[in-house]
């Protein structure tokens, strides 16, 4: 049984007149410790799928199993608990707290979960040992994204969800971030899901899921993932 299982999920928005389906019977699976890349054009339903998986949105019908639990049936309180303990989220625009230093930003996440990693050590892991006491405004985009990743993994999540993590970064910095994410997956054994519209990233993943018009059109298992350093785009 797969670690993550999206089972015939339908997400429907009822607007006036016509009903719009952001997800139309989408199904995919991801195994534990895998690095999965979700590919698709804008409006294909990637972000909706990620939001549902992250417990930030609900489904209209279908099952979403994470580590054997159907989060589609969770109530508000259970979803909050799920987001707090099981999910790490990396956003395109970092979403760091501007009034807190890098270290404090990570501490903020670490302190809401009882069994968390040491914030300072986590920042060492992402290569920001000497920038711990800088505020986000004093950090570059890549550094901010590293803080963001450190913040996400400090909670020891079951699942690390990344929504266009390189979208706001230049080529080299993006590559470093992707390398970091791949390392996290390999070394820490965290299941990582990366959303991107850049199909060049597909080779680095264990599993590539193609979205189109709210449906999963293709799911490819990659037996020999390419190291990020060798990928060019």
């Amino acid at each position: 049984m797969a670690y993550i299982e999206f089972n015939h999920v339908i997400k429907q928005y009822n607007t006036e007149g016509a009903a719009i389906r952001a997800l139309d019977d989408a199904s995919f699976t991801v195994n534990k410790g895998e690095l999965a890349v979700i590919l698709g054009a804008s409006g294909a339903g990637k972000t909706t799928a990620l939001n549902i998986l992250g417990g930030m949105d609900t489904v209209t019908s279908g099952k979403v199993l994470v580590d054997g639990k159907n989060i589609a049936e969770f109530n508000h309180k259970q979803l909050t608990e799920y987001r707090r303990t099981d999910i790490g989220f990396v956003f395109q625009f970092y979403n760091l707290v501007p009034n807190l230093t890098a270290l404090e930003n990570v501490e903020l996440a670490a302190q809401i979960r009882p069994d968390s990693l040491n914030a300072s050590e986590t920042l060492d892991k992402v290569g920001l040992a000497d920038r711990k006491h800088n505020f986000p405004a004093q950090l570059s985009g890549g550094e901010q994204q590293r803080v963001s990743i450190a913040r996400a993994i400090a909670k020891k999540p079951k699942l690390l969800l990344c929504d266009e993590p390189t979208g706001a970064l230049d080529y080299n910095t993006g590559k470093q971030i992707l390398q970091l994410l791949q390392d996290m997956c390999r070394k820490e054994g965290i299941t990582v899901l990366i959303i991107t519209h850049n199909s060049a990233l597909a080779p680095m993943a264990d599993r590539v899921i193609h979205f189109k018009n709210g449906q999963v059109v293709k799911m490819v298992q990659n037996e020999q993932p390419t190291p990020v350093a060798e990928i060019e785009w």
Partner: protein, 410 residues
């Protein structure tokens, strides 16, 4: 809330302290404003309620177009939960202020302290010559406590509609027309019209309200009956519980007392009117009878008069005949006398001729007399001359005599 989250909050405040302060002030102002509004509103309600309780203001007022009677008051006082029932009397009168006619509601003070006016200055009236007035009157008339006020009752409207018999003419309901002002008061039933802030508004439209003692008025019906309830003193006059408690009694009165009393009053008034009507009818009958008698008497007189008239006519005819005869006799006499008169005239003329003759003779004699007189005068002058000569001789003789006399004496 974890430690780092707290840090974020404190930094947000210190970094943007101006914004934080603005928000705090705005919020404080808003809260203070709302609290103030709510509190002052409540405060006004409580103040008003305490005022009503203190002045023992009524809970229920009963009015009737025909006024209310002592029987009505007695019927109401049998109700449960009633503290006080009292009939009150007030009347619309007039007074002169600054040359203008102003309307006044003249109220009789309750002797049980119901709807007691709030004394601002001075004291409530204690005898029939005293009166308490509202502040508005004192301001507009320029009078002060100790001055007098004159009222005029408005009676012409009533007398014009009712019959004009003297016994039915409306008597003045108040003993005096001039009173001494003893106090400045606030009418608890109308605290609006004195220009002061209030939450109740009186429907009465008179300019002022005056208060006199019960002894100053005489009346047999009440213009209103006021009730206070036993369990309403501690309730707020503006609360739902109060309204409910009062409404219960009102409903009871309307269901059980109103109809019965209305019917009783109606029949009483009707009976009174019937009695009056009967009396009038009786009187009318009597008067008619009297008139009939007088008619009959008059007819008799008329008949008698007619007979007399006939008799008179006969007498007249007779007398006319007699008179005509007398007239004829008199005319004959007159003719005769005329003839005699003519004869006399003739004699008169003859006499006149004789008289003329006599006159001519008289004139001839006069001439003769004149001639005689002239002769006399001439003779008289001659005689006088002779007399004068004689006198002179006499005087000479006298002188001789006197001289001789003197010689003798010597």
């Amino acid at each position: 809330m974890n430690k780092t989250y707290g840090k974020d909050i404190s930094r947000s405040i210190t970094k943007d302290w101006k914004r934080f302060l603005s928000i705090v002030i705005i919020t404080a102002l808003g809260v203070a404003m709302l609290t103030g509004l709510y509190a002052s509103c409540k405060d006004m309600y409580y103040s008003a309620d305490r005022f009503y309780d203190k002045q023992n203001l009524f809970d229920i007022r009963i009015l009737s177009t025909l006024g209310l009677t002592q029987e009505d008051v007695e019927a109401l006082s049998k109700l449960n939960g009633i503290d006080l029932v009292e009939g009150a009397y007030s009347e619309a009168v007039h007074t002169q202020v600054e040359g203008g006619r102003k309307s006044v509601t003249l109220s009789v003070l309750s002797n049980r302290g119901l709807n007691n006016p709030y004394v601002l200055e001075g004291a409530l009236p204690s005898n029939v010559k005293e009166i308490a007035v509202t502040e508005k009157y004192l301001i507009e008339s320029g009078k002060s406590i100790g001055d007098t006020v004159t009222i005029a009752e408005d009676m012409d409207t009533d007398t014009s509609t009712e019959d004009k018999d003297k016994e039915d003419k409306e008597e003045p309901n108040f003993v005096n027309t001039t009173y001494t002002i003893t106090g400045k008061v606030l009418d608890p039933m109308d605290i609006q019209s004195d220009g002061m802030a209030s939450v109740i508004r009186s429907s009465e439209q008179s300019d002022y309200t005056f208060f006199v003692t019960e002894a100053a008025a005489s009346f047999d019906i009440y213009t209103a009956v006021y009730l206070t309830l036993t369990n309403t003193q501690e309730l707020n006059s503006y609360s739902g519980e109060y309204e409910e408690a009062v409404q219960q009694v009102i409903d009871y009165i309307e269901m059980h007392i109103k109809k019965e009393r209305e019917a009783a009053r109606y029949s009483a008034v009707l009976a009174e009117a019937r009695t009056k009507l009967d009396d009038a009818k009786k009187e009318m009958d009597e008067e008619f009878q009297k008139a009939d008698q007088e008619f009959a008497d008059a007819w008799e007189e008329i008949t008698e008069g007619k007979q007399k008239l006939l008799d008179g006519e006969n007498t007249l005819n007779q007398e006319e005949k007699d008179a005509a005869k007398q007239f004829a006799d008199a005319r004959a006499e007159l003719e005769e006398a005329k003839k005699k008169l003519l004869a006399s005239e003739k004699q008169l003329k003859e006499g006149e001729a004789k008289l003329n003759e006599g006159e001519a003779e008289l004139k001839a004699r006069e001439k003769e007399l004149e001639a005689g007189r002239q002769q006399f005068e001439a003779e008289k002058t001659q005689a006088m001359e002779q007399l004068n000569i004689a006198q002179k001789q006499l005087d000479q003789t006298q002188e001789q005599l006197d001289t001789e006399g003197a010689e003798l004496e010597d």
